[in-house]
């Protein structure tokens, strides 16, 4: 009549992984969220996590959790406001455009490499993020001088991102 509890657990533990194991399904799994945040008077704005390590094929979803401001997630690339390129040469640039509170934007990363991005109204205030896809060999950009100091100083190192998986912004801790 009723299946013994242990059997259920075994079934869940053994059969389930077999069902969802194909790598394509894993790759298509839930997007990894990066929150857009701000404090009450708008003095602090940030991405959380600010540094993130993912694998090729994974999707990142930016979510504006700031009730009092609009934010963007915009790749450093000449097609975006003529900003310097800080994504792999052959990678597709993205620009979420302005996200109002509660809005989201998703982007799937296919190519291994380091991807730097910024928030259009907050680049000067240092609202930037870095995503490392896979295990890239070339990890240094040569156009640091073209960025606002506050933005440049905010990036976590590729080394730390690879070591820790995700890095939270100072304000988020």
């Amino acid at each position: 009549m009723s299946i013994p509890r242990r059997t259920v657990l075994l079934a869940a533990g053994v059969i389930a992984p077999v069902l969802i194991a194909p790598s394509r399904l894993l790759r298509a799994g839930a997007a990894i969220e990066v929150a857009m945040q701000g404090n009450l008077n708008g003095g602090y704005v940030w991405f959380d996590p600010i540094g993130l390590h993912i694998m090729p094929g994974q999707t990142v979803r930016w979510f504006n959790h700031d009730p009092g401001n609009a934010h963007t997630a915009t790749a450093y690339h000449p097609t975006n406001y003529q900003r310097p390129r800080r994504i792999p040469e052959t990678a597709q640039p993205w620009d979420s455009d302005y996200l109002m509170p509660g809005e989201t934007f998703s982007f799937t990363f296919e190519k291994e490499g380091v991807y730097d991005y910024f928030c259009v109204p907050h680049e000067q205030a240092g609202m930037v993020g870095r995503i490392v896809v896979g295990s890239p060999k070339d990890t240094a950009w040569k156009n640091d001088a073209d960025l606002p100091k506050a933005a440049l100083n905010a990036f976590p190192s590729v080394h730390d991102i690879l070591a820790r998986g995700r890095i939270h912004a100072e304000m988020a801790q």
């Binding site: 009450l40 907050h122 000067q124």
Partner: protein, 141 residues
Amino acid sequence: MKKALSLASALLASVSLTAFAGSADKSIVKSPPASPYQQVSKLVPLPDFLPGMGQLFVDPATLPAGPFLAYDHDKKLVSTIYMVPLKDINPNNSFDNLSAPGGNVDHVDVYYNAGHPGVGEPHAHIVMWHIPANKESRVAK
């Protein structure tokens, strides 16, 4: 930042002396204020009601400094706000004769803001409240 804010305070002192006396311009005490003021959320992508400030209107010709007029949920004027980019506080620049149509000022807040659509760079908010500090909750959210 501290330095920038004290500069902003000095600037405030120079622009706002005329605002502390007199009553409000009738055409702006209720939302929406008369032209040339326009709803900020229709000019730039921002929420219509900003927590802590209220519903904002501005004459686009006066950007970025403003004044911005802020209203509560009952459409009553609560504050007049100036937004002054930190980089514009320098020896070669000044903001002269900014209008102050809101009438009596109860108290003033000056604080740093990282930026938002419309003023996309770090700036000081100089908020001249027309209501007492203990009534600011009217625009808390």
